[in-house]
């Protein structure tokens, strides 16, 4: 596999918690501009993989490289976010006592130091960008609402908006359609496809219809390593995949 041309490169990554191997010799490559869906049964290590990429968990062994050259295992969450990896959590996590607008303003790409933010005055370019994002995530009407008062689906969208505000190169999206209605799910799929035009995206999802509507390459995780990879039809035809996951 070509590390130098990849956006994200994991090779032989393992991590265990109290003897339980959450990730076992996982290797995965995401190309620049690629959208990838990751599926797998509960406990397959999907969230742990995201934790490793974003610096929350350190792998016991293995290599994790971003942009082919940056070793992520030596960085912490804040510097990985600064490098251009954004993450959306499974449970929507927005700042509930801030307004929708403030949530986006905090996420906007800008100097992150305490003194930079202390004297920060919002620029017209930043305002314009927030307006654009509000339009995109359809929360224009709710801009002054506290994030706590949003519905579940709106929180999910706000978090996607916050992710975009960071202007990352790679987006890690954990179960974006969880708890959404069918209509919202379809809209979310459209939004992600839109985003994937100029970003690399990794989507973890349970919902097969959702994954199908994305129409991208799929990686199946099982017991912490890659079980199969290819189009959804291809992996669905794989007997082992059917056995562990689809053959419910």
């Amino acid at each position: 596999m070509a590390r130098s041309t990849s956006q994200l490169y994991l090779d032989g990554v393992s991590v265990s918690f109290d003897g339980f191997k959450a990730i076992n010799d996982l290797s995965l490559t995401i190309d620049p501009g690629e959208m990838r869906a990751i599926i797998g049964p509960n406990g397959a290590g999907k969230t742990t993989m995201m934790d490793i990429i974003t610096g929350k968990t350190r792998p016991d062994t293995g290599e994790v490289f971003f942009n082919g050259v940056i070793d992520l295992t030596g960085e912490d969450e804040a510097s990985i976010a600064e490098l251009g990896i954004g993450r959306k959590f499974q449970k929507p996590t927005v700042f509930e006592s801030h307004t929708v607008w403030d949530n986006l303003e905090l996420s906007l790409k800008a100097p992150r130091g305490p003194f930079a933010t202390l004297f920060h005055v919002i620029t017209s370019a930043e305002k314009k960008r927030i307006e654009e994002l509000l339009e995109l995530i359809r929360l224009n009407e709710k801009r002054d609402e506290l994030a706590a008062n949003l519905s579940h689906g709106q929180k999910q969208w706000l978090e996607i908006g916050m992710l975009l505000a960071q202007d990352p190169k790679l987006l890690l999206v954990d179960e974006p359609a969880a708890g959404m209605t069918d209509a919202e799910t379809a809209e979310t799929a459209e939004l992600l496809k839109e985003i994937a035009k100029d970003h690399s995206v990794v989507v973890v999802e349970h919902d097969m219809d959702f994954v199908r509507s994305l129409g991208v390459k799929v990686t199946v995780l099982h017991e912490g390593s890659v079980l199969a990879e290819g189009s959804l039809d291809h992996v669905s035809a794989d007997e082992r995949v059917v056995e562990v996951y689809l053959g419910r």
Partner: protein, 410 residues
């Protein structure tokens, strides 16, 4: 840059608070110095000193509110910074006594002569100069807070664990300052002060000036706190309070933010202590007692966490009650204080100011929607929180921001 930074601090609420404070700063000393003693408007000197003490407590509460209300760091050791600032001021006041002490030594304070010390310890050098002592009042608590915070926040110690080690910090200092060979007067602390900047510390005019200085310090620190909490940095602090790890994944280095606000807060506590000592005339290790720090937290909780004004109000009200109770019913004060904390936690979780401003917003909202329903007036589009008004969780928005209220540290 600086002007926009300070300009941000001002709005109607801040204006009202500062105007009230200015009135107090002017009227209380005037009532003491200018009004004849037989007038009903005369303010007795003991009352000036007492209210001056309240103002320094209010500043201490303000500093606790800055870290607890906005950043979720529940400090149970802020009295340590207060006492350190107080000791720095006390050392200056001791050096001012000169040869007027009981033993008449021109250099050594009485307790050192009593302990048969023949020279001033190195850490007492420079405290004969006011500017040096004033610098130490902010630098010593600031440095301690910086070092403590550096290790604690970098190791990601949060919540109850952090609260417990702040208690340990103040308790350790309590034990250390009790020791005679520390060189700070041991059990008795520093007292018998004669004058400050050449003025007799007992004089009415000096007391009035100290009162005014406490009020001005409170006002300035309030403006600084307000400017901090309404800046983008303030929004990050609230974000840290509500969802610390989310803030990290946005690229903010949470430990730097905590360290910044923690150190600023400790410096303010130090200033409060420095103004407290000349007004009460003594500083001893008792000020480090863990119970003192806990009491400060109660003041803030009563007044309203994360509102700044509430901290000031809470400190003044609770201490006024304490003064009254300890005179009339001295035995039940601690029960009353404990009961107050329980009642506030159960029935006023937002404190006095938080509850009032929530009620006010709800009332306004109801009026707007009522007039919209009846067809007159404008539709309820005006939001209580506009994007231009930066993060201030004081005005809890419309609706039911159930989970948006300040959460306990853990």
């Amino acid at each position: 840059m600086m002007t926009s930074f300070l300009f941000r601090a001002m709005d109607a609420r801040a204006g009202i608070f500062l105007a009230l404070l200015a009135a107090v700063i002017l009227l209380v000393p005037a009532g003491n110095l200018l009004v004849p003693e037989d007038s009903p408007f005369h303010v007795p000197t003991y009352a000036v000193a007492l209210m001056g003490k309240y103002l320094t407590y209010a500043l201490l509460a303000l500093s606790v509110d800055l870290v607890w209300g906005f950043c979720g760091i529940l400090s149970l050791g802020h009295a340590a910074f207060f006492a350190l600032g107080g000791y720095a001021m006390g050392m200056y006041l001791m050096r001012q006594i000169g040869s007027r002490g009981v033993y008449g030594d021109p250099i050594l304070p009485d307790f050192m002569v009593f302990l048969n010390w023949d020279a001033l310890p190195w850490f007492w050098y420079g405290f004969d100069m006011f500017w040096f002592a004033a610098l130490m009042v902010v630098l010593v608590p600031g440095a301690l807070a910086f070092v403590f915070g550096w290790f604690a926040f970098r190791s990601r110690v949060t919540g109850v664990y952090l609260s417990i080690i702040t208690q340990a910090l103040t308790y350790a200092l309590l034990l250390a300052f009790f020791r005679n060979d520390m060189g700070f007067g041991g059990n008795n602390g520093l007292t018998d002060f004669k004058d400050i900047l050449g003025f007799d510390i007992q004089a009415d005019t000096t007391r009035a000036a100290l009162f005014a200085a406490s009020g001005i310090a409170l006002g300035l620190c309030y403006i600084i706190c307000r400017a901090i909490t309404r800046s983008k940095l303030g929004k990050v602090l609230v974000a840290v309070r509500d969802a610390e790890s989310r803030t990290r994944f946005l690229g903010y280095r949470v430990e730097h933010y905590k360290l910044f606000v923690w150190t600023i807060s400790a410096m303010m506590a130090g200033i409060a202590g420095a103004l407290y000592v000349p007004q009460v005339g003594i500083i001893n290790p008792g000020e480090f007692a863990p119970a003192n720090s806990i009491e400060v937290v109660i003041w803030v909780a009563v007044g309203g966490r994360g509102t700044l004004v509430g901290a000031v109000l809470g400190a003044v009200l609770v201490n006024f009650a304490k003064t009254w109770f300890t005179a009339v019913l001295p035995d039940i004060w601690l029960f009353a204080l404990g009961g107050l904390f329980v009642v506030v936690t159960l029935f006023l979780p937002k404190g006095i100011v938080g509850t009032v401003s929530q009620g006010w917003t709800a009332l306004k909202q109801r009026k707007v929607s009522a007039s919209a329903e009846s067809g007159s007036g404008t539709p309820p589009t005006a939001p209580p929180q506009s994007p231009a008004a930066p993060a201030n969780i004081a005005g809890p928005g419309k609706g039911k921001p159930l989970s948006s209220e300040p959460q306990p540290a853990e």
